[in-house]
Each structure stands twice: as C-alpha cells, then as structure tokens.
C-alpha cells in the first residue's frame, strides 16, 4: 500500500530538514536532548524515530553548528544542553532563505495555480472541466 508518510522519499526529506529544524529550536534557546525530541515530535511528522535526533546532534556538533555542555540546574537533574553556534546561525539563516524559494518551487509544481488553462499545461483546467 502506498503511504505518503512512510515512503523512502519522505524519510529522506525529513532527514534533510531535521537539522535546520533542530537549529531553529536551539536558536530560540538552549535545549536538552529529550526536550528537542518532544518538541520535534509535537511538531508532527518530522521524526522517523526519536533516537535519530541524537546522532544528528553529534553531527551538528562535529560540523561546528552546535555545542553541548552538561548543566546541573537547581531543582533539576544534570542534563546535556545543546547550544547553537555562530556558524549554526549562519547556516540556519541560509537554509531559511533557500527553503522559502525551494518550498515555493515545489509548491508551484505540486499545486498548480487555479485557472491554469489547458493550452498552457496540456491538461484540462478547471474552466474546462467545469463546463
């Protein structure tokens, strides 16, 4: 059965956008691992599994986009918090710009504008099919 949410293309798409999403969350404030997982889960459809966030965090750290440190805050257990770096912010800014164009392009292909004529697309338009 074809399922849009689990097919390989979507998995790869999630993998591609998950890093910028993590950077975006960390751009708001530092977060610890489970916190990131919960928020990405709550966003819906971004995680194939909760555990994939941790290898991703390690890769972002290796790339210099995030840093991490253990913090023992009063009244809380000791946790490893992740912080976005300057390079991480630059990367996030660039991705946001690219994403806007990319999403518009993909959206334009997937959802053609209402009123497109058959002579332009070679497909029956709404005007024709409504007759």
């Amino acid at each position: 059965m074809y399922c849009m949410g689990t097919e390989p293309g979507m998995t790869e798409l999630r993998r591609g956008v998950l890093g910028p999403c993590v950077l975006a969350l960390l751009d708001e404030r530092p977060r610890f691992g489970l916190e990131l997982v919960r928020e990405l889960d709550a966003a819906g459809g971004l995680l194939t599994s909760d555990g994939t966030v941790y290898p991703l965090l390690s890769r972002l750290r290796d790339a210099g986009l995030v840093t991490s440190e253990w913090q023992d805050r009063p009244g809380q257990r000791a946790r490893r918090y992740y912080f976005i770096t300057g390079a991480g912010r630059d990367s996030l800014k660039a991705f946001r710009a690219d994403w806007a164009d990319f999403a518009a392009t993909v959206g334009g292909v997937l959802f053609p504008a209402v009123g497109t004529s058959s002579s332009e697309t070679g497909q029956p338009g709404k005007e024709e099919t409504s007759r």
Binding site: T48, D50, Y54, P55, S58, R79
Partner: protein
C-alpha cells in the same frame, strides 16, 4: 540519572543490543550515543516503569541497528577501520581471548614447523658395512662389482634361516628410533618371517659375528651415530639354479620425534640370493 529505569530488563537488553550494534563505530561516538540514549530513557520513563511503558518508549526510539546506522552515516567505515574499532573496544576478557588465540596460533605454527622439520629429517642410511649373519653363508658368499655397485651373493638355503647384518647411520640432528621393518617387507612369501633388530652397544663398524650383543627393538639411533642392524628370514624363494634375486633396499619403520614414517635404506653392497638346486622342489610344486 535515577538508575531504576536503567536496571529494567528491557532497557538493559536494549542498551546491550545498542552496544553490539555500535561495535563498528568509533568508540567515542558509540559511547556518546549510548550515554545519550540512556539519558533519554532515564528521563522519558517514570521511575519503576511497566513493561508496556518501556516497550512503547523503545519503539519510539527506533532499533539499535537503525541508530547505529544513523551514526555511521551513508558511507560505512572500511572493514579495516571497523576491525580497529572493535579491537579498541575489547575489555580484558576480549584481550585475553585475543591473546589466547594468538598464543594458540603461534603454538600451532611452531608445532606444524616442528612436524615439518621431522618429516624432512634426513633418513637413516647404510654406512657401508655388510656381512652375512650365518657362518655357512659367510663361507659360501661371492662378491662382484659393476660400476659403483657391489653385490654380495650367497646360495639360497631353501626353508632355512638366512640373513645379514649391516651398519646404519643417522646423519640427522634428531634421534631416530627403529621400530622394525615396514609391513610390505614382512609380508614377503619369498623371504618369510623377515625380522630386523638393532644391536645395543655396537656401533656401525663393529663386527657382530662372534660377539654377543643385545639385539632388539625399538632401538634409538642417536644423532650422527651408527648401529648394527640385523635382518633375517626363512628363505622360500623359488629361484632357478644360478638365478640372482637381489635385495636392493630395506624399508624400515622409524619414529622421528612425534611422527613415524617409512625410510628406505639403500643397500650397497646389494644383498643377493643365488638360486640353487635345493630350490628345485618349487618347480614340482
């Protein structure tokens, strides 16, 4: 960490499986992932979680193999690199196993080399001394030469014991133990009941006739030493009068170290039986 979550059997099994799945990763990366996952479980699950709660959380995390693959990335490490990572992760039991394996392999190599050395040890040879064993043969023997070969021929005495004594020498650096004649020689019908024995206390050039040495087997021939070897049999050879039946070599069963092998001892002079009238009854048989 509270620790109660991490002691749950399902959690422990999961972390063990994660360790196993991460053996091909760099040790630091594998340790980091384990710490992250353990911290995640410890905080995500309540203290004293039920089995179903643990199962649900583990299912959300993904399989250990999938997590390890995520860390490894799209291009897995080369085989040699993965092997190094596995070796780097070995604890003392693993290293003990590796050391034991290496020691066994080294011992096997030494043992095989030792066996090979024994197999290639130079065999016994005749030292050049040869004499009929029985006085009546010594009296009637004739010696002839052709080129480098010398032949001692004596008349066969059908149905009687005949034999000779020769010197044998061990040129090798290992003791060689004569166990007897090879089965192929003792099964001869022409030279029936053929047996061999070695004289203790006599070197290869001592004259055995007229002495009373202790003959027997098995007998050790020390390295670079010689001994007297006696071979006797009951002659049942059906040779025509005047026909020569040479015995050009002896095949001895010899033990060298841990192996036992056949050694062909070339005879020179060649020992030969000369057919006589006493074997005429073979024709009628």
């Amino acid at each position: 960490m509270s620790g109660t979550v991490l002691r749950h059997p399902l959690v422990r099994n999961y972390l063990r499986a994660l360790d196993a799945a991460c053996t091909a990763l760099p040790p630091g990366r594998a340790r980091e992932l384990r710490d992250q996952i353990a911290a995640h479980l410890d905080e995500a699950l309540p203290a004293g979680p039920t089995d179903s709660e643990v199962r649900a959380e583990l299912a959300r995390l993904g399989t250990p193999r999938a997590l390890a693959a995520e860390v490894a990335g799209p291009v897995p490490a080369k085989i040699g690199t993965r092997l190094l990572y596995r070796l780097a992760r070995l604890r003392w039991r693993g290293w003990a196993a590796v050391a034991t394996g290496a020691a066994l392999a080294a011992a096997a190599a030494v043992f095989l080399s030792y066996l090979d050395d024994m197999k290639t040890t130079e065999p016994l040879r005749e030292s050049g001394y040869e004499t009929p064993w029985y006085p009546q043969d010594a009296a009637g023997g004739s010696v002839s030469s052709a080129g480098d070969l010398t032949q001692i021929a004596i008349a066969e005495r059908y149905g009687q014991w005949q034999g000779f004594a020769i010197g044998i020498f061990n040129d090798s650096d290992r003791p060689q133990t004569v166990l007897g004649l090879a089965p192929a020689m003792t099964s001869s019908q022409d030279l029936a009941e053929m047996t061999a024995s070695v004289a203790n206390g006599l070197n290869e050039h001592d004259t055995p006739i007229g002495t009373a040495p202790d003959w027997g087997l098995p007998a050790v021939i020390p390295p670079h030493s010689g001994r007297m070897l006696r071979v006797v049999w009951i002659t049942r050879l059906c040779a025509q009068p005047g026909e020569i039946s040479p015995l050009t070599y002896l095949t001895l069963r010899v033990r060298v170290g841990l192996i036992t092998r056949n050694e062909d001892v070339q005879l020179n002079p060649v020992w030969a039986l000369l057919g006589s009238e006493s074997s005429d009854h073979c024709a009628s048989g």
